[in-house]
């Protein structure tokens, strides 16, 4: 296996409703910034891969227009996943492992959730024959997961609120944050439930945004970056979707991915979890085997901003940035998609 590292990360400010710019226009300055940080020209990128969803944009081939933000001329080696851009990062990592002539990769993700009603749109992610007609929206399904934790005696609504309070507090130091502030658990618990036991603070915000990560291999990474964030392990796994067939207090695929990525091989300083709903934070900490001294979501996590289809990739960027700046030595990035933590990716990033 070749040594591959994240050498640069850039993201747009997380906004509730970006009314002026379309996806490509949000993305273009972010890509420019990432290239600048990496000290690369776009012609020096060997492979490009992106993640997005046509249903979020409400149009087929939405990624084709976004490609204009990167500039695919002369023709480039490029691919796209209909998934969170963390999976695009994985494809870049694979492409770099498979082909030694690929020394640099650019990954991007983007989403404008404000174009529709995400809670409703996400319903068509379910089994179209059996579940979609029942209209089980994402918040309701996440609420069932929260309820399962409470019923099993594994967590309380106070625990959920504590996760939200921690995230929003961390977000105060994140200049890109859409939501932040100091809240006490008691304050949060006074708000009404959206879908019991979940309150507004337990759910991710609706966000428009884009993000870009640049990868480099071996000596190229060392040349371009003083302290690259080396990808020491990366793996992704999936569980069946039907929530009736799963133990919702668990995320077995996250556990396998964490084990394969080698999370337990050393002390984890920081972890960025793609926990869309607060109960998922509690499940993931356990499945990933994160110790109590590990700082969870130093960026504020998903609760400060959720540029869907880029949210998972942002987790990689936030961990990498802290390693690149020397604030952490070893970090874990996590990404998910599908209802109730169905599919999970875990990576270990290290400064050495």
């Amino acid at each position: 296996m070749r040594d591959i590292a994240i050498i640069a990360f850039a993201q747009s400010a997380n906004k509730r409703n970006e009314q002026i710019y379309n996806e490509a226009e949000i993305l273009a300055p972010v890509a420019r910034e990432a290239l600048q940080k990496a000290g690369l020209k776009k012609e020096e990128i060997d492979f490009t891969c992106s993640g997005s969803s046509d249903y979020l944009a409400g149009q087929p081939f939405s990624f084709v227009i976004a490609l204009n933000a990167i500039g695919a001329w002369p023709p480039i080696q490029e691919s796209h996943v209909e998934a969170d851009a963390a999976w695009a990062l994985y494809e870049c990592w694979i492409a770099m492992q498979a082909d030694e002539s690929i020394n640099t990769s650019l990954v991007y993700g983007f989403g404008k959730q404000s174009m529709g009603s995400p809670r409703d749109v996400m319903n068509i992610l379910n089994d179209p024959y059996v579940e979609t007609p029942l209209w089980c929206d994402t918040i309701s399904m996440a609420a069932l997961q929260g309820r399962a934790l409470i019923d099993a005696g594994l967590a309380t609504e106070r625990d959920f609120a504590a996760v939200a309070a921690r995230n929003l507090k961390h977000a105060k130091s994140n200049p890109k944050a859409q939501c932040k502030g100091d809240f006490t658990v008691d304050e949060l618990l006074r708000s009404p439930t959206l879908a019991s036991p979940l309150r507004k603070h337990d759910c991710p915000p609706i966000t428009d945004g884009a993000c870009v990560v640049i990868l480099a291999a071996g000596d190229t990474a060392k040349k371009l970056c003083k302290r690259p964030a080396w990808i020491r392990g990366i793996d992704h796994r999936i569980d069946v979707q039907a929530i009736g067939r799963r133990d919702l207090t668990r995320a077995p695929s996250a556990q396998i991915a964490a084990e394969k990525a080698g999370v337990g091989a050393g002390k984890v300083d920081i972890a960025e979890l793609h926990a869309l709903f607060t109960p998922q934070d509690i499940i993931l900490r356990k499945e990933l085997g994160l110790a109590s001294d590990c700082v969870i979501n130093p960026s504020g996590g998903v609760h400060q901003g959720n540029p869907m289809m880029g949210t998972g990739l942002v987790r990689f960027g936030e961990v990498a940035d802290r390693i690149i700046r020397g604030e952490a030595n070893r970090g874990v990035a996590h990404a998910t998609q599908g209802p109730c933590l169905q599919q999970n990716m875990v990576a270990v990033l290290e400064g050495k």
Partner: protein, 387 residues
């Protein structure tokens, strides 16, 4: 391109208008089960599943592979979704190859699929987007100007497009999985079919199909001990370019030329017409055969149509470089699977398992897919011998 890999199993569904007998699950499992049986493997043997399809608007399910995880035998395994427009079936096979070539996995199941009957493709591909001019023409309306430009530039006679459609539909009669089986089809009938998007006639367009195509791609270790014949992967390449850009050659796109150059270099191909025994090329509208003959270096610029005219690409006429012996996209088009089918059919030829449409003694073949506004290209070269 990393470790050596080979295709040791291929499975296809019967392509048709509306496959009402199966759900999405049944469709992909039909192809996957056949591929596993061909590879003499079971679901347990698979390390990773790579799945591709074109826009989700066609079935009306967002990221459907998530709900298909159990049908794909993916629980606890990696499941990876690719979407690169019409070239996706090819890109999916390339991603699957890289999963093995990288050394990360040994046995990968690759699936391309589409169930077009669940909606209307022209509608699904041409919605009204705020602040954008509507393109209600579908793919045919988009490509017709490219074809017109080709005819003007090359002075090709009108009957070339008709001949390609006739040839591919005749090839399809030898392929039991092909959607269109039209034994009584005549050149005259194609010529007299309605003009849909001038100069593209109804008879010169691809059908709209339900279908899935699966392949098992394995590392050298597994290919060497495989009981079924391997198709060794000699090279893979992909290129992308913008849809609209001043000065972009849309008739003979640079991306296609560079992609071909890249994959030929990897496979040691210097004269494609001579070095390949056959090719499976993405020709959804008949005129794309002469256009791609030139783009892929089988003919000089402006000369592609002469190869078609002389029967060089026809199996029935004993051509030296038969294209689309399976009947091609013109005879079966489950969009997301169409590229996978091209790649798989190329592999079948060098494995010697193409049945009635087998090119005798085929040793090296090209699989090709393109998509978007003639801007995304995916290709592989497969051979009967180890690279």
């Amino acid at each position: 391109m990393g470790r050596r890999c080979a295709v040791i199993g291929i499975g296809q569904t019967k392509y048709m208008d509306r496959n009402l007998a199966v759900s999405h699950r049944g469709l992909i499992r039909d192809a996957a089960n056949k591929a596993l049986a061909d590879a003499k493997m079971t679901w347990q043997d698979i390390d990773c599943i790579v799945i591709g399809k074109a826009p989700d608007t066609i079935e009306g399910v967002m990221m459907p592979e998530l709900y298909l995880a159990d049908a794909l035998g993916a629980q606890g395994k990696p499941l990876f979704r690719v979407h690169t427009a019409g070239s996706v079936g090819g890109s999916t096979a390339i991603v699957g190859t890289k999963m093995v070539a990288s050394g990360v996995h040994d046995r990968v199941l690759v699936i391309g699929w589409q169930k077009q009957s669940e909606s209307q493709a022209t509608w699904a591909l041409s919605p009204r987007i705020p602040f954008q001019p509507p393109l209600t023409a579908g793919a045919g309306g988009f490509f017709a100007p490219h074809v017109r430009a080709y005819i003007r530039q090359s002075n090709a006679p009108d009957h070339i497009g008709i001949k390609v459609a006739y040839k591919d539909r005749k090839h399809a009669l030898k392929n039991p999985y092909a959607h269109l089986h039209q034994p009584d089809l005549t050149l005259e009938a194609i010529k007299n079919s309605p003009m849909l998007w001038d100069p593209i006639r109804f008879g010169e367009t691809c059908p709209s199909s339900d279908g899935a195509c699966a392949m098992v791609i394995v590392s050298e270790k597994y290919a060497d001990r495989s009981a079924s014949p391997p198709a060794w992967i000699h090279g893979t390449a992909w290129r992308s370019e913008p849809t609209i850009m001043a000065g972009r050659d849309q008739v003979n796109p640079l991306g296609g030329r560079e992609c071909a150059k890249d994959v030929y270099r990897q496979a040691g191909v210097t004269n494609p017409r001579k070095d390949f025994d056959c090719a499976e090329i993405y020709v959804p509208f008949s005129w794309f055969e002469p256009m791609w003959l030139e783009n892929l270096g089988f003919a000089e610029r402006g000369e592609g149509w002469k190869l078609t005219d002389k029967g060089a690409t026809s199996l029935d006429e004993g051509g030296d470089i038969p294209w689309n012996c399976s009947g091609g996209v013109l005879s079966s088009n489950p969009i997301g699977a169409s590229g996978t089918i091209r790649f798989a059919e190329a592999a079948m030829q060098v494995r010697g398992t193409a049945g009635e449409h087998q090119v005798e003694g085929a040793k090296l073949a090209l699989g090709h897919a393109y998509g978007g506004g003639s801007q995304f290209f995916a290709m592989w070269v497969v051979g009967s011998k180890k690279p």
